[in-house]
Symmetry: C2
Subunit: 145 residues, 2 copies
Amino acid sequence: MRIGELAERTGASRRLLRYYEEQGLITPERSANGYREYGEAFVDRIAQIRGLLDAGLPTRIIKQVLPCLNTPRALYFPDATPEMIATLERERDRMSDRIRCLAQNRDAISAYLDAVRDGTPPPTEAPIRTGGPVDGTAGRTGVTR
Amino acid sequence: MRIGELAERTGASRRLLRYYEEQGLITPERSANGYREYGEAFVDRIAQIRGLLDAGLPTRIIKQVLPCLNTPRALYFPDATPEMIATLERERDRMSDRIRCLAQNRDAISAYLDAVRDGTPPPTEAPIRTGGPVDGTAGRTGVTR
DNA sequence: ATTGACCTTCACACAGATGTGAGGGTTCGA
DNA sequence: TCGAACCCTCACATCTGTGTGAAGGTCAAT
């Protein structure tokens, strides 16, 4: 497919698809007239790239990480130098850090939303003083909604 | 404590601490001479902010999310308008997406690293083509190196 | 009183991801 | 053969998170 279709199917603008190529993240074929030609696999690839970008990884890192994630489980490493391995370990750890941070904050948001939905607990009674979470009182009082 | 100490203890530059304030993420006190004065709680707060920034959230979103995460479990919502609730739900979902993406890619990296460390598996059998770069030939032929 | 290490605001600079548009080819259907 | 709808490259613009430095105030120790 050409760039327009890929853009439509992935939600990435044409500009961005060219940018990802410029950054070495993807390398589409070129047809005789110079048009970029993308295979089906690029749809997933772009989704993966956009997900990682959105999760805070810069293209420079994504570029290093992508080759190890070849779609058809192509687990044969082009080089696997010690530096590359060290880089991968470092990035893996950073990703774990991010996951921890995100999960923790997401759970806090969830807890907040749960509490809010539980019929806004009257702030008049029991001003809630900095103790534990939800401190017993406003728990799920059977009200389903 | 003043900005220098907080910077040192959090790893954020003074410039950034002022920037976070300008973006409305934090609101330190001011002492008589105009110096910013931060309480202990700001150390965690800054760590949280930096973690979320690193995980791809813009300050605009962090600003909306932080108040629901008040350290002393102050679960009494200042407003809780329907729009705010919708925003929180949206962001919670986006965070879940990010977590999924990160976990998936991290696990793939882990798998790759495991495979690499397991004495490089012979690629000679089943060349795995699919557009891979090294095209089979010069693969590690069982040579443990 | 001066020095040094803090602090203040202001402002310009930069990199990375993305938008926008100009100027120009290709392809295809009316 | 024309026009629409694609594609190309190039280049400048924008937004965000940061860095850096200038010009100046505060404070403690010498």
